[in-house]
Amino acid sequence: MRRYVTNPMIIKELRQRLRERRSWLLPTLYLIVLSGIVVCVYYFSTDTGRRLRGAEVQGADIGQAIFLAVVFAQIIVLLLMGPVFSSGAITIEREQRTLAGLLTSLLTAPQVWWGKFVAALLYLLLLLASAIPLLALPFAFGGVEPLDLVKALGSIILTLACICAIGLWCSATFRRSVHATASCYAIVLVLTIVTAITFGMLYAHWQQSHPGASGPPAHIQAPLFLNPLYPLLTLIDDNDFRFFVYPVSSWLMFAGVGCLAAALAMRRLQRSGEQL
């Protein structure tokens, strides 16, 4: 176990990553985008509140609006960045002809995978952590509980870990970074868009056969369990979203898919000698 904690791959990967220009450019852009979203949400929620209810604008409403906006913006932006950091991790070693050196050292395929995985995830977590002050802002307005913050961060971290594992599987499977990245984005697209469309179709069909029913049952929601946004819907305190109450199923699905992707990536990595 100690070998996985003191894995030289992690140090190497982080050292190389933090030397890139994008390592400081991306967090800067990321925070600018999120700050812009916070300003816009604050402006619209106070402005809309004023127009709808006169001068009375509830602080809790502003707090929840900012919180949800930041959480959803973070997951969307990080879902777009996840494949960039993970799906090129192994292919770049192949393209630069350095993979043979790793595979003939005393590092095992799981250790190589773990180093790549931790480095990719840690960088995404750095972005996530850099936005914690923005996530803490809603507490000044109220309407958000600390448990909501824990649930949101936990869900995002689990989803990102799964995306990183999928990205590494793509990276171990394809020879070229461009193919691996494109495949990983396709998978992210399937998870976010295709699952939502599938759910929409199932829900529409179900509503026709169950007129007047209060909300979709678990089996109709099932496609959404693999949607990264689904567990975050439980944070929304709104009547339209009160039926989406199975975040644990979704987390289990992500954990399962992540573990499967990890196992397949390690297996692929072990057999990558022919591609060198």
Partner: protein, 309 residues
């Protein structure tokens, strides 16, 4: 050190190795020679635990590569044909990473890194980025990297590719020095003059099979050959030459062209000198006489004449 028995490896559309066998003893520096696609890289990759064999057995330092790959990796250093290098790392960091990857513990780790820097001649450039090194220096760094954990066996696949003549000379000297230190080296190369210069044995491979095994000059010098082959280029009447040859006991003409004869003589180089004196005494003008036997290039041509496109 290496025991390979009837090794077979197939790819989807081709056969990499087809019953190849090889035994390497301690203190050997063996050159692996063959045309493109002969199976050299496949063989080296199997030895380096990068590829699994379909059948046959491979043991390195007593360990089966398929059963105990980690023990095999601990005992060998592998330099691929096009070895990549982390351009964005400092030279010291590069060596530190591989020292950790080979699980070297302090104080051996620091000592190994210092030794590698000295071996590569980069002790004063430890903090330079790898990308600032020339190809020759990078190759030296890579060679030092594969020696970090003090392997007993070195596998080199086309190590001189892309190197300038000076870098090639330095590489040859370094390999000779490592061999003198007791390292067993298996080197695959198309640069036959380099191999002839440093190898103690040449192994020929074609279509995944052993073709011929030959001792190079370095080893042959110590052994008394039962017969010697001489190349003779001459000017003058052929009859006189024929008479001189038939007059020399045991001499036999193997090949005859216009003004050229390949002759086999019994005995050693002293007998070749005696033969030369006989031919000169017959009044024949000698343009060229070579009693060293065919060089590696000639042997390669004979071995692979029909295999090369």
């Amino acid at each position: 050190m290496i025991e390979i028995d009837t090794l077979r490896k197939s790819y989807r559309k081709s056969r990499g190795l087809d019953g190849f066998s090889l035994h390497l003893e301690s203190n050997e520096l063996v050159g692996l020679v063959g045309p493109n696609g002969a199976g050299k890289t496949t063989l080296i990759k199997i030895l380096a635990t990068l590829l699994p064999a379909d059948s046959g057995s491979v043991r390195v330092s007593g360990h089966d590569v398929s059963v105990d790959p980690m023990a095999v990796r601990a005992s060998l250093g592998y330099l691929p044909d096009v070895a990549g290098i982390y351009q964005d790392m400092r030279i010291g960091e590069f060596l530190e990473f591989f020292a950790d990857a080979f699980r070297l513990k302090e104080p051996q780790r620091t000592a190994a890194i210092e030794r590698a820097l000295e071996r590569a001649g980069l002790a004063d450039r430890r903090n330079d980025f790898v990308e600032h090194l020339s190809l020759g220096w990078k190759q030296r760094l890579l060679l030092s990297k594969v020696l970090l954990h003090e392997p007993k066996l070195l596998l080199l696949d086309e190590p001189a590719t892309g190197l300038d003549p000076l870098a090639r000379i330095r590489l040859r000297e370094q390999l000779r020095r490592l061999h003198a230190e007791g390292l067993v080296i298996l080197i695959s190369s198309h640069i036959l003059s380099d191999l002839e210069d440093i190898c103690t044995r040449i192994v020929f491979i074609a279509e995944g099979k052993n073709v011929q095994e030959a001792q190079t000059a370095a080893l042959a010098a110590g052994a008394r050959a039962p017969a010697i082959r001489c190349e003779l280029e001459f000017e003058g009447p052929r009859d006189a030459v024929d008479r001189a040859i038939t007059g020399f006991a045991g001499a036999r003409i193997l090949e005859r062209k216009e003004g050229f004869l390949l002759i086999e003589l019994p005995g050693s180089s002293q007998d070749a000198s005696a033969f030369l004196r006989t031919v000169l005494a017959a009044g024949i003008t000698i343009l060229h006489f070579d009693a060293r036997g065919p060089g590696l290039e000639e042997r390669y041509r004979r071995a692979f004449g029909e295999h090369t496109p």
